[in-house]
C-alpha cells in the first residue's frame, strides 16, 4: 500500500487510463498548461500532449456539450470542472443530453463521458461556490454519481468511471486534495461502482456519510467511543446507484441511524436513505432516523455563520444521543 494524496490518486487513475486507452482524453479549464487548478492533472500535458489534454475557455455549457458529442462519436472524454458549482451552466448538456441520448435514440447512441471535479463547500467561499450537487444529479436517470472521500476509493472508482459505458459524475473536494490515504499497489486497481463500504465497525448506531461528510462521521465516531457509544460508519462512495443493501444490513445490527449529508435537507441524499431505511428495516428501528445536513439556506460568508451552517462532528454526536436516547 502506498500513501498518496487524493490529487495523486486522481492523477494516477487518469494517467493509467490514458496509457491503456487512446480514446481517453482530458478537457477543462486550466487542465493543461496551468497543470490543473488543483494539480490533479499535473504532468499529463507533458506526457500525453495537447491533443489529449485540452485547455478550454470558460464555457462550461459549450465544452461539456463538445465532450458529450465526442463521447457519442467514439471517444472517452474526462471533463474537469473547476467545481461542480460551475457545472450548473452545463446542466443542459448533462441532464438533457448525456443522460438521455441512449434512451431517446432507442439504444443507438452511447455516451461514455466522465465529468469530474470538486463538489460542495470549501471554506468561506460564499453562496455560489459551496453547493453539494450529488443529490440533485442523482435525481436523474441515465447517469451514475460518485462522491468519494479517500484516495484509495478515488483511484479505483475513477478508473471504473472512465471504463463505464454510461455518463458518470465523479465528485471530489477542494479540501480533500491534500488528504493522504492508502492506495492499493495492485496493478489495474478497480473498485466496482455502486458498492458502499463499512469503514468502521460498530454496534450501537450506524452513521452514513459520503464525501467530506464521511470524515465528519468518522470524527464523531471517535468522540462517541470516548462516551462508550460504538458507531458503525458506512461510506456509500457511490450515490447512484446506491448500495442500499450494505446500509440496511448495518441498521439491522445497530437498529439506529444518523445520516450525515452536505446536501440541503429537502429531497436530498439523507431524505432518500431515510426513506429506504423505513421501507426496508422498519421493524428493526429502535428510534427514528435522524439526519444532519446543511440547513435550508445558502452558504453564508461570515466565519461564525459558515461554521454554524456546515455539519460538524458535534452535531453528529448530538444527533446520535437523540437516537440512542442518551
Amino acid at each position: 500500500m502506498a500513501q498518496l494524496q487524493f490529487r495523486d490518486a486522481i492523477r494516477d487513475a487518469l494517467r493509467e487510463e490514458m496509457e491503456r486507452d487512446q480514446r481517453v482524453f482530458i478537457m477543462g479549464e486550466e487542465v493543461a498548461e496551468y497543470d490543473g487548478a488543483y494539480k490533479a492533472t499535473q504532468g499529463l500535458l507533458d506526457q500525453f500532449g495537447p491533443g489529449r489534454v485540452i485547455d478550454t475557455p470558460i464555457s462550461e455549457l459549450g465544452f461539456s456539450g463538445i465532450a458529450v458529442g465526442a463521447a457519442m462519436n467514439g471517444l472517452r472524454p474526462v471533463v474537469e470542472f473547476m467545481t461542480f458549482n460551475f457545472a450548473v451552466l452545463a446542466a443542459d448538456q448533462i441532464l438533457n443530453h448525456a443522460t438521455k441520448v441512449r434512451y431517446m435514440s432507442g439504444g443507438q447512441i452511447q455516451c461514455p463521458v466522465v465529468f469530474r471535479g470538486p463538489n460542495a463547500s470549501a471554506g468561506q467561499l460564499g453562496a455560489t461556490h459551496s453547493v453539494s450537487y450529488d443529490s440533485m444529479y442523482a435525481q436523474f436517470p441515465g447517469l451514475k454519481v460518485i462522491y468519494t472521500s479517500e484516495p484509495g476509493d478515488a483511484k479505483g472508482l475513477l478508473k471504473a468511471a472512465i471504463r463505464d459505458d454510461n455518463p458518470v459524475l465523479f465528485m471530489e473536494s477542494e479540501q480533500m486534495y491534500g488528504l493522504k490515504g492508502e492506495v492499493s499497489d495492485e496493478e489495474d486497481f478497480i473498485i466496482e461502482i455502486g458498492k458502499a463500504k463499512v469503514k468502521r465497525q460498530g454496534t450501537d448506531v450506524t452513521l452514513v456519510g459520503h464525501g467530506k461528510m464521511f470524515h465528519v462521521a468518522m470524527k464523531a465516531a471517535e468522540l462517541l467511543e470516548k462516551e462508550g457509544i460504538s458507531a458503525e460508519v458506512i461510506d456509500p462512495r457511490t450515490v447512484k446507484p446506491l448500495d442500499t443493501k450494505t446500509i440496511i444490513e448495518s441498521i439491522k445490527k445497530t437498529n439506529r441511524c444518523v445520516i450525515v449529508d452536505e446536501n440541503h435537507p429537502f429531497g436530498g441524499f439523507a431524505a432518500e436513505v431515510g426513506y429506504i431505511i423505513q421501507r426496508e428495516a422498519f421493524d428493526y428501528l429502535d428510534a427514528p432516523v435522524i439526519r444532519v445536513t446543511i440547513p435550508d439556506v445558502p452558504a453564508p460568508f461570515a466565519k461564525n455563520l459558515f461554521e454554524a451552517w456546515l455539519p460538524n462532528p458535534e452535531n453528529v454526536v448530538h444527533a446520535v444521543k437523540q437516537v440512542t436516547y442518551k
Binding site: 482524453f25 491533443g51 485540452i54 478550454t56 475557455p57 464555457s59 455549457l61 459549450g62 465544452f63 461539456s64 456539450g65 463538445i66 465532450a67 458529450v68 458529442g69 465526442a70 463521447a71 457519442m72 462519436n73 467514439g74 471517444l75 472524454p77 443542459d92 448538456q93 438533457n96 443530453h97 441520448v101 441512449r102 434512451y103 431517446m104 435514440s105 432507442g106 439504444g107 443507438q108 447512441i109 452511447q110 461514455p112 436517470p141 441515465g142 463505464d164 459505458d165 454510461n166 455502486g194 447512484k240 446507484p241 446506491l242
Partner: protein, 364 residues
C-alpha cells in the same frame, strides 16, 4: 404620460413595416445560375432529388393529416418548404459525414436512410420506429448512417456537433460534421460558446442556420439583431449565405464548403434562407404572419422549382414525374398502414436503453 411613446422592448409586430413584407434578414440571396450539367449532376440525380424532396413533403403532409385525426400524440414540427436544404446537403456530403439537427428533423432522417415506415412508426410511438418508439417526432435517429438525430432543446445539439467534429479530428477519420438549427437557436449562448471553441481548435464542423423566418411565432427581426450570417465575423470564421429554396444552390455551395472544411479542418458558419410553410407546431394559429407572405413563398416552392427545371430542360416528361409522385404517395400511404398496425413497444422496454448494462439496479 400622454404624448409620450409607448414603452417597448422587443420590436413589436404591429408597426406598418412589419406587415406582409419580406424583411431584410429573410430576403433570399440569388440562386445559382449554373445548370445541372455545370454542377456535374446527372439526370438520374435530379430525378432522385425530386423524389427525395417529394417524399419528405408527402411524408409530412400525411403525418399532419394523421396527427389531426388524433392517430398519435406529442409534438409535430413540420419541415415543409425546407426540403431543398436536406436534399441538397445530403447529396453534397460524403455518406459518413455527420449530420445533427434540432426537432424539425423528419426530412433529415428521411435523407439519411430512415425509411418512411420506420419514420411513421416512430411518430406513432411504435416499436418498429427508428428510435424504437422512445424518441418520437423530435428524436429521429439513424446513427449507422451518421444521422445523430433530432434534439428537442433549442441549440442543445450545437455543442454536440462540435464534439462529433472533435472526435473526427482526434481519430483522423476525414469526416466532417454539420449542425442544422433554426434562426431561433442563433440567440442561444451554446452557439457562441461552440463557435469560439470550433474556431480556436480548428474543428471540422459546419454550423448551419436554417433561417425560416420565425423563431416559433417571433419573426427574425423581432428576436435577433443584425444579419445572422454576420455572427461569423466576430469569431473570424468563414461564412456563406445560401438560397434554401433552390436545391442546386444548396448543393453547389454546401459541396464547396464541405470540401473546404474537410481540407482545412476549419469551421464554417452558414445561413440558409428558407421558409416554413406550416406553423411552428401543429397547434400554432399563425396569427403573426399574413396570407400574402405565405403565398409569396409558395410561389417559389423548391419542389415546384425543380419540377419546372426538369420539364423545361426535357430531362423527364411530366408523366415520369407523375409516376414518381404516385410511387411516393403509395409508399407513404403504406407507411401509414404499417405504423397503424405495428405493435407498441413491449412494457419491458420501459427500463431498456437507460444504461449500457442490462442488470443496472434501478432505484425504487
Amino acid at each position: 404620460m400622454s404624448g409620450k411613446k409607448e414603452l417597448t422592448f422587443a420590436p413589436t409586430g404591429r408597426e406598418p413595416e412589419f406587415d406582409s413584407l419580406i424583411h431584410k434578414s429573410t430576403e433570399l440571396p440569388e440562386a445559382t445560375k449554373k445548370t445541372h450539367k455545370q454542377l456535374k449532376l446527372s439526370n438520374e440525380q435530379l430525378l432522385a432529388f425530386f423524389e427525395e424532396m417529394y417524399l419528405q413533403r408527402r411524408f409530412e403532409e400525411r403525418s399532419a393529416q394523421m396527427y389531426q385525426k388524433g392517430k398519435f400524440g406529442g409534438f409535430l414540427h413540420l419541415y415543409i418548404g425546407q426540403e431543398a436544404i436536406s436534399t441538397g446537403t445530403a447529396a453534397a456530403f460524403h455518406p459518413d459525414d455527420d449530420i445533427i439537427t434540432g426537432y424539425r428533423d423528419h426530412g433529415w432522417g428521411l435523407v439519411r436512410g430512415i425509411s418512411p415506415r420506420a419514420g411513421m412508426a416512430e411518430l406513432y410511438g411504435k416499436h418498429a420506429g427508428c428510435s424504437k418508439g422512445k424518441g418520437g417526432s423530435m428524436h429521429f435517429v439513424n446513427a449507422e448512417r451518421h444521422f445523430w438525430g433530432g434534439y428537442g432543446i433549442v441549440g442543445g445539439h450545437i455543442p454536440i456537433a462540435g464534439g462529433l467534429a472533435l472526435a473526427n479530428k482526434y481519430k483522423n477519420t476525414g469526416n466532417i460534421s454539420a449542425c442544422f438549427f433554426g434562426d431561433g437557436a442563433v440567440d442561444q449562448g451554446a452557439l457562441h460558446e461552440t463557435m469560439n471553441m470550433a474556431q480556436l481548435w480548428k474543428l471540422p464542423v459546419i454550423f448551419v442556420v436554417e433561417n425560416n423566418g420565425y423563431s416559433m411565432g417571433t419573426a427574425v427581426r423581432r428576436h435577433t439583431v443584425n444579419e445572422i450570417v454576420d455572427r461569423a465575423k466576430g469569431f473570424g470564421m468563414k461564412s456563406a449565405l445560401i438560397n434554401g429554396m433552390d436545391v442546386f444552390s444548396v448543393y453547389e455551395q454546401m459541396k464547396k464548403i464541405a470540401d473546404e472544411v474537410r481540407e482545412t479542418s476549419e469551421p464554417c458558419f452558414v445561413e440558409i434562407r428558407t421558409y416554413r410553410y406550416r406553423g411552428h407546431s401543429m397547434s400554432d394559429p399563425q396569427n403573426y404572419r399574413t396570407k400574402d407572405e405565405l403565398e409569396e413563398y409558395k410561389n417559389i416552392d423548391p419542389i415546384e422549382r425543380l419540377k419546372t427545371y426538369i420539364l423545361d430542360k426535357k430531362i423527364a416528361k411530366d408523366e415520369q414525374l407523375k409516376e414518381i409522385m404516385a410511387k411516393v404517395d403509395e409508399e407513404v400511404l403504406e407507411a401509414v398502414s404499417f405504423a397503424e398496425e405495428a405493435p407498441q413497444p413491449p412494457l419491458s422496454e420501459l427500463y431498456d436503453h437507460v444504461f449500457a448494462e442490462n442488470d443496472y439496479p434501478f432505484h425504487t
